[in-house]
């Protein structure tokens, strides 16, 4: 249909232009956040060092819970700024028809997985199997790359879905989608469910496989001091904090989207076109992101995950004994 095609072309242009324009006001807000993070980082380092020492000397419940609080706050605040979890979740929610419930499940499960991965890495590999910090870091980089690969796959899946939908709409814009599908496809509902579960798992793993650097630092520290339990507890508290922030963003994304759709009374073919377009745009964005992460990782890490730290004049001495 002529009008729909023209509308779609317009939408694509507006999305690309809008992305560029919208960068300006957000950039300002984001910068102040970065400034805050810079000073916050030192505070975090100092706090966990102090609290762990306190736990070691006093064995007090209060010290343990205040470390957990530090972890929780770090998780909640840190995931506001950097990190790729929120990016994947909100892009996905925006680009797909997924609802709020699914978004929240993904954020919660992926934060939990993130904590488990960090614990398994630091305590499992280092303490049980005696891996050095270097080898552990290399494993972390490997996991990161794997999760970035998954991100790219999610992007591809989104694009595929969007393109299929678009193709269907352009072929027969008047037809209802279900009437043509129900006839020859067996049990489409069941198929959808399997497909959904796969993409849900993909989301959780793509976000959760990459351990949070703050959690690793905390666990390394706790291990050094010798208070493993408190480290694990604080790591889960951190995951809870992360889930809180990422979950809020998911809510915000889904609500704004439905509000926008309601206000414009977008429905029928237009809505389907919008979804198809968003799916393709979001998929592209997610692929771009995954590729950027992947290439920056391989550029900086090369063969050895900690090479920069190891070569630093003041860090060399710390690695000497290992």
């Amino acid at each position: 249909m002529q009008i729909n095609k023209r509308w779609f072309a317009l939408a694509v242009i507006v999305i690309s232009a809008g992305t560029l324009i919208a960068c300006i006001p957000f950039q300002q807000l984001y910068m102040s956040l970065v400034m805050m993070t810079q000073s916050g980082q030192r505070l975090f380092h100092d706090e966990i060092a102090d609290k762990l020492q306190l736990i070691k000397t006093t064995h007090s419940y209060a010290a343990t819970s205040s470390l957990a609080l530090v972890g929780f706050l770090y998780g909640a605040l840190h995931s506001v700024g950097p990190g790729h979890g929120k990016v994947v979740v909100s892009s996905y929610l925006l680009a797909s028809k997924s609802g709020l419930k699914r978004g929240l499940i993904v954020t919660f499960l992926s934060s939990l997985l993130q904590a488990c991965v960090a614990i398994a890495l630091v305590y499992g590999l280092m303490s049980l199997f005696g891996l050095t910090r270097d080898e552990t870091a290399q494993t972390a980089v490997m996991l990161e790359n794997f999760s970035f690969g998954l991100i790219i796959l999610i992007g591809l899946a989104l694009i595929g879905r969007g393109a299929r939908e678009l193709g269907r709409l352009l072929r027969s814009p008047h037809e209802e989608c279900c009437s043509c599908a129900c006839g020859h496809a067996p049990e489409p509902q069941k198929l959808n469910k399997v497909h959904d579960l796969a993409s849900l798992a993909g989301m959780v793993f793509s976000i959760g496989l990459r351990p949070c650097s703050g959690a690793i630092l905390l666990l390394l520290f706790a291990g050094l001091v010798g208070v493993y339990g408190a480290g694990v507890l604080a790591t889960f508290a951190m995951a809870l904090g992360t889930a809180l922030t990422t979950g809020s963003l998911a809510i915000l994304t889904v609500q704004s989207k439905s509000l926008a759709l309601r206000l414009t009374q977008t429905s029928g073919d237009k809505l389907r076109f919008l979804h198809a377009g968003l799916g393709i745009a979001g998929g592209l964005m997610i692929i771009l992101l995954g590729t950027a992460f992947l290439s920056s990782n391989s550029a900086s890490a090369q063969s050895d995950g900690m090479s920069v730290a190891k070569d630093h004049p003041l860090m060399k001495s710390l690695y000497q004994g290992k």
């Binding site: 317009l10 939408a11 507006v14 999305i15 809008g18 992305t19 324009i21 919208a22 960068c23 957000f26 950039q27 984001y30 970065v34 400034m35 810079q38 980082q41 030192r42 380092h45 100092d46 966990i48 060092a49 840190h78 950097p82 990190g83 790729h84 929120k86 990016v87 909100s90 892009s91 925006l94 980089v141 949070c212 650097s213 703050g214 630092l217 050094l224 994304t253 704004s256 926008a260 414009t264 237009k270 919008l274 968003l278 745009a281 964005m285 992101l289 900086s300 920069v308 730290a309 630093h312 004049p313 003041l314 860090m315 060399k316 001495s317 710390l318 690695y319 000497q320 004994g321 290992k322």
Partner: protein, 217 residues
């Protein structure tokens, strides 16, 4: 709200998403330092006595790792001295992160003396004195010095404004001044965008470095 506005609105979210950064940013360690400027009788700078205090994280890793490497036991006086010697040895190629300039440009460092480490409030301190090859003339022109890590892996700042002391027979006629830069937001975010294993541009640290100026009457 028109449909185009809707699309624009949604695009904003994508834009916000794009501004994501790697998780752990530069810097990764922090040093608070104090300096003593050693002047000769003619008020020429001959040496700089530096007192660095590492942050708790660095201290903790050093206490455990350096310890382990040397066969266990407490981090006693001897091990701390070994750590100081090791750090100074590794800092030699980067001029101990110390730049001293007069009108003629960067002054050459001749040697370093008396490196030693000890604990201050549970944190590792590193003291040493940097000796200049030729004295820097403060009477004829002002002398600047900076202490910083060019890669900004470590953030180094004077811990207090009065952390500069001038030592010498006629030092009373000299004054010191400290300028803390106000790096623009782009630079700060550049630093934030480099994660632990990332390589920083060679001069990133200069944007955050304090400049100390000595003038004598």
């Amino acid at each position: 709200m028109s449909l185009n506005k809707t699309v624009l609105f949604l695009a904003c979210f994508f834009a916000l998403d794009l501004s994501s950064l790697p998780a752990e940013a530069h810097p990764h360690a922090w040093i608070d330092y104090r300096t003593q400027v050693i002047l000769n009788d003619d008020n020429k700078v001959i040496a700089l006595k530096e007192h660095w205090v590492f942050d708790s994280t660095y201290t903790e890793f050093a206490l455990h790792d350096f310890n382990k490497g040397k066969g266990g036991g407490k981090l006693d006086h001897k091990l701390l001295m070994d750590l100081a010697a090791e750090n100074l040895k590794n800092l030699k190629d980067v001029d101990y992160f110390t730049i001293i300039e007069d009108r003629g440009g960067k002054k050459k460092i001749a040697s370093v003396s008396d490196p030693h480490s000890y604990l201050v409030d549970g944190k590792i301190a590193l003291d040493f004195t940097v000796w200049l090859k030729d004295p820097a003339d403060v009477v004829k022109n002002k002398v600047d010095y900076m202490i910083y890590d060019p890669s900004y892996y470590v953030s180094m700042l004077h811990d207090k404004k009065d952390a500069i002391a001038l030592k010498g027979k006629n030092a009373s006629s000299c004054t010191s001044d400290l300028t803390t830069p106000n790096p623009n937001k782009a630079t700060v975010s550049l630093a934030a965008a480099i994660d632990k294993n990332g390589k920083a541009p060679d001069d990133l640290g200069t944007y955050f470095a304090q400049r100390m100026t000595i003038t004598c009457k």
